[in-house]
Amino acid sequence: MSAAAAASATSASRLPAQLCGAASVLAVVAAVELLIRAGAINAFVIPLPSQVIAAIPRIVVEEHIPLRFWQTSKEVLWAALLLATVGIGLGVLLYRVRLLRLATETWVGALAAAPIVLLFPLFLVIFGRSATTIVMIGFCAGLAPVILKTVEGLAGTRPVLIDVGRSLKLTRRQQFWKILLPAALPTVFVGMRLGLVFAMINIVGVEYLINFGGLGQLVNDLAERYDLPGTYGAILFVVLTSIVFFDLTERLERWLRPHR
């Protein structure tokens, strides 16, 4: 059996389970609808799922979802640009200067475990209640994986490739651009993907916390207006947007690393 046929057979064998999973989710939603209508669940705490679905077209139009989506996307893009330049740059620096890498790699690892988003009041003081605060939090939150994976990718270049470069008498710069970077690119992209995921989570979170920007602010706005179906609809929209974002970056990573 070919690999494609085997993959297709596996996918087909999963279908009943996946359909069952989707049916279960729909059954829970239907049960909640019935329980609210029967008065067993307070409709002022959980709105009717049908109202939530009906609210989505309303919030798309009245709350300018495309504009908010674009605002959040712009913040993510700025953070991505900073991550790609500063994060990869720092990773290359740590790879080049071994002593610096030995001295700081554990610190960068600790940075990955640090609750960076809690710095938002500090960033508010420095940058004000603006998109810069949101972008900087996203950038700081995503920095550690980009640095660590860049170092890992460059350090993992096969020695035979480096030897080929030496035998061709490539300069240090040529060796970096023609051998090290292309070989490290798939691992660097894993770091970029992780960094972007952290950045996106923190950007939407800070938008919500400081009530500024795109999708995060929408949730806060609707909650403060006590528009329950709108709030639940907006949360659903944020979750769906996150899922699409993660899926796209994962597909891109698989495309870059087909051997995985």
């Binding site: 389970a17 996946q18 989710v25 600790a110 475990a113 609750p115 009041p121 979170g205 806060n220 979750v239």
Partner: protein
């Protein structure tokens, strides 16, 4: 004798590298502190945005000497502790169920994987409506944050258990409880510890962020109060304490996990 020579030669080299690494670390720390102090005294930024080191040190000492700091630390620790117990145990149960059953895994694991990395703080308005403005909503945020990494790690850990161990358990007609406590959990200790480590990290963030948004107790509340009153040295002191505690607890659990691995090896 010939084999011992490189070992002896390598030892001073390692010691010298360690000394140089320490020197670089000290130099970096001193350079950052000096740059900070210079920036604080230069007047380039608004007054107190970058307070002098002695002001931050003083605020840190004052903070650690105040009884209300420990009361708020206790509130936050209690919220995070309850959240990790509830979210961690629920995640562990879900992970074991998904890892043990291929049908359940195919049906529901995609939900876990996709919902896991979504920004949980946007669920806070819902938690406020469900659990009120007190500790309940903060604990709920911690539970929601902690559940996913533990469940995902436990499901992956379950699938890595040696099939022979499971067959041995079944051949002894072990009950489900006995299988979980005597076979599954000991065999998947490492991924479970890692899952709890990740879960604790995100539970800390979820709980503290919820406290900064709407609360009158806890360390997150103290941070946002310091911001609201523009008491910058106190805010820096609080952030230092929070970072040291978070990174310290994370490292401690990480060491526990590595200790387990050594014990297994």
């Amino acid at each position: 004798m010939a084999a011992a020579a490189p070992v002896i030669a390598a030892a001073p080299s390692r010691a010298s590298t360690a000394r140089r690494v320490l020197a670089v670390r000290v130099a970096i720390v001193l350079a950052v502190l000096a740059a900070w102090q210079a920036l604080a005294m230069s007047g380039l930024l608004f007054r107190d945005v970058v307070p002098p080191l002695q002001a931050i040190g003083g605020a840190l000492v004052a903070l650690l000497g105040r009884a209300d700091f420990y009361a708020n630390l206790g509130v936050t620790a209690m919220e995070i502790g309850i959240a990790v117990v509830i979210g961690g145990l629920a995640g562990l149960a879900a992970g074991i169920a998904l890892g043990a059953n291929r049908f359940l895994s195919n049906a529901f694991e995609a939900l876990l994987l996709y919902l896991g990395p979504t920004p949980k703080i946007v669920f806070f308005p819902v938690m406020l409506m469900w659990f009120g403005t007190g500790a309940g909503s903060k604990i709920a945020m911690g539970v929601v944050s902690c559940f996913f990494p533990v469940a995902i790690s436990a499901a992956a850990g379950m699938r890595e258990i040696d099939a022979v161990l499971i067959r041995v358990g079944r051949s002894f007609r072990a009950t489900t409880w006995k299988m979980v406590t005597s076979i599954y959990l000991p065999a998947m200790r490492q991924p479970v510890v890692n899952g709890f480590r990740l879960g604790l990290g995100v539970a800390i963030i979820g709980t503290l962020l919820a406290e900064t948004k709407l609360s009158n107790k806890g360390l997150g509340y103290l941070v946002i109060q310091a911001y609201a009153t523009f008491d910058m040295p106190r805010m820096y002191a609080l952030l230092i304490v929070l970072f040291v505690l978070s990174i310290g607890v994370n490292a401690l659990i990480g060491r526990l996990g590595r200790g387990d691995r050594r014990a297994i090896a």
